[in-house]
Amino acid sequence: MKGKVGILLAMVVLFGVIASGCIGSQETSETKTTSVELTGDFVKDVLAIGKALESNGVSEVKFSAWGSGDPNSVMRVYGIVEAARRINKVWEENGVNVRITITDTHYVASFQDAYQEYLSKQPLGQAGDFFVNSYAFLPTLADEGYILDITEYANAYKNVIEDFYPSLIEASKFNGKLYGLPQDTEARPLYIRKDVAAKIGFNLEGIEEKVKNGEFTWSDVYYWAKKAKESGVEWGLIHRKGSAHPDLIQFIFAFGGKLYNEDSGKLVVDVPAVYKWLYVEWKFAQDGLLPKDIMSWDWAKQIHPAIVEGRTLFDIGGTWYWTEWQTKEYYGKEGTPRPLKPEEVQAWFAYTLFPAGEKGLKPVTLSQPFVWMINSKAGQQNPKYDELKDLYHKLAFLMIIKASDPDINAIHSVISAHLPVRKEAAKLISDEKWLNDLKNLNLDLDPQVKDNIKDIVATTVHPINAKFLADVSYMLEYTKLAPAHPKYPALADIFKEAVDKVLRGEMTPEEGVNYIIQKINADPELAQNVEVVGEIPRDWKFP
């Protein structure tokens, strides 16, 4: 009996083994491709992913795109919409039955708010698959694991990556790994009113070169600002307000200071440079060349009208001012406010780098590149996400490669007055024929995208504006980036408070520096992350 049971058991086990083998072999024959190697050939890669998705029964891939910034920067999300259309076209032409649908185009004006929203919603899987925001947030998001490391994918696309300006690719890295592709950048020129300059005998011939060589410094800016004031012009200088980041900290770099110690990974308060910055602000304000209360001025009612109406000689602004002045009704000299014409902006404004603080130092500008980032959970609203994650992630990467197409980047640059991030895009904006096609929207673009950008295109696409962008592109060679450090925003806010108090005359520059140090020490976490270096220079003179 026992023997019979033994034989029976042995047969059951044998049957089990054979059956499992059969099931296994059947599975092997049904295994679908769930991973594709990127080759660097875009069409080939897109087709391989499309076919792999199709063989897994996926016919629709859903993605959402989140963007932020000024209203003219809509290509930050429409770039993704357009990339989806271009990939869909490749699939359609090659008989692949898969389509990408962009389910959500979420866009908010405040990029800090967008970042906060992303932070709270990413862990719940509710954040956008694509996220365009300042490079400043990239380290935190990468550190949290909220965005995708695309280093390996990018290795296959070296030909595209190498076309980006290297400093911008560096800004998209964290711990040596690439976490995004640059979307745009900008420079912050010093604008000079040509008509005011002519009135006071300020010869602007060759000013760009003089600034580049460090011959024209902030002492010269002071000298001419004072002349302008004496001749009856309301102000010598108007600058931006709000957080001292990133506009006013240009002074620190212009005075040869630094903000970040790469060796220790800490932020730096470079006392001599900060003191000189505060001194310049104080001197300008005390002599009535710069409004004492500029930090609380209204953008639309005070700051921009003062500049476009020629009530100041100098202005520290951004490249995007150039088209902003053409789209918003800031010029009210004739009674009813109206926007400027491109010809007027060209006739009235000269632009240079932010001059060196003193002789022997270099001019600067400051950029805050925006970066396409991919959610580390990209594609999760799609079927079989766990099995097909690799395909979805690679497809998302190919989407941002496509969204970085030179024409998409160039359209964004022209309509929002940001600088192109690729050399190929820079060439396009100098191409008259292409500009004409853009003006007439005679480009191969998604109808939804065309419809949404037609108003902006009508007001901003002009050879004068394209020439301006081409003219200021060289500034990127002088650009500095604010440190992408989690504690930097807190430090920038302290700088802002000190600038405000110094401008208003509530503090001397020396007291301003001490105030900054005290405020840092009052916050233990900040104090741990900041090094205070150097001392107040006693024998320094300005101007």
Partner: protein
């Protein structure tokens, strides 16, 4: 002391003027906002020199765009509807729970009643911001795995979470209203054979209509104006998050924001205008001798 009806008119004028004067900054603020929404420029000072009439702002708001040129269009009607869903949801839950709880705390004796009332008051002392971490944790724990439910669940959760913040105060408020109703009403009902729940529904509730309205109104306003809970938990936008997301002063065309702000104010103003008579009415019944 003279009765209201016999008080001299002169004194009344002084009171009216004082109230008007005290609320002038508020009225002025709202007036400037509404005027700006119909102007090409913000009217922020008292002169009307920057008032250039236009209805463009309102057209743009209804088209869901907050920029003069370009910008991404959003479906403002859907956003308004989302706000309404949250506000009505909070209002409904707060009203239901606080009328029930207020009645029990006012009329029934049970163990721990006093402690419960004390704890309710303590709960009210916690601001929503202080609780956000815990509430977020709960959200993560109860989050549905099925993606198609997430959107719906986020509405459900935000309504519950926001209502929970309003309930402690509303319960106290309702208890106060129930306290003003004489016991005799209830007794007569019970003697006639009605159950407690029937007494509550058919006798008590009609008597405290102003209280219910007040609680419903406060609940509605809490949901309508909530920003932090809505931004943290809700996937869709409401008017509050829509305005907040676009208010960055440097980029925004402020008259457009003024139009969105006025739209945001409208239900509140309408609610107060239509309900103020009922709110002031209070209990005015009597007891049969």
């Amino acid at each position: 002391m003279r009765d209201v009806e016999t008080r001299p008119k002169r004194g009344e004028w002084i009171i009216v003027l004082t109230i008007l004067f005290a609320s002038l900054p508020l009225i002025l603020g709202f007036a400037l906002l509404i005027i700006s929404s119909f102007s090409k420029d913000m009217v922020t000072n008292l002169s009307l020199s920057s008032f250039r009439p236009t209805i463009e702002n309102w057209i743009n708001v209804f088209q869901g765009r907050l920029a003069i040129t370009g910008g991404i269009r959003q479906n403002i009607l859907k956003i308004t509807l989302n706000t309404l869903v949250v506000a009505l949801g909070v209002s409904g839950i707060v009203t239901l729970i606080s009328t029930l709880a207020g009645y029990s705390l006012s009329r029934m004796k049970f163990r721990g009643r006093k402690l419960m009332m004390l704890l309710l008051l303590m709960l009210h002392a916690f601001p929503g911001v202080a609780l956000i971490v815990g509430v977020y944790l709960l959200y993560r724990l109860t989050f549905p795995q099925e993606p198609s439910f997430v959107r719906l669940y986020s509405f459900f959760y935000v309504v519950l979470a926001r209502a929970a913040l309003e309930i402690p105060m509303s319960v106290w408020l309702m208890k106060g209203f129930f306290d003003t109703i004489p016991w005799e009403f209830e007794w007569s009902g019970i003697i006639d054979g009605a159950s407690r729940i029937k007494v509550w529904r058919q006798i008590m509730l009609p008597l405290i209509k102003p209280g219910i309205l007040a609680v419903a109104l406060f609940g509605f306003l809490a949901g309508w104006q909530d920003l932090i809970y809505v931004r943290t938990f809700l996937i869709d936008q409401t008017l509050a998050t829509f305005i907040e997301a676009n208010i960055e002063a440097e980029y925004s065309h402020m008259p457009l924001i003024a139009a969105a702000g006025t739209l945001y104010l409208l239900p509140t103003i309408m609610f107060f205008l239509t309900a103020q008579q009922l709110l002031l009415q209070g209990y005015s019944g009597g007891i049969k001798g």
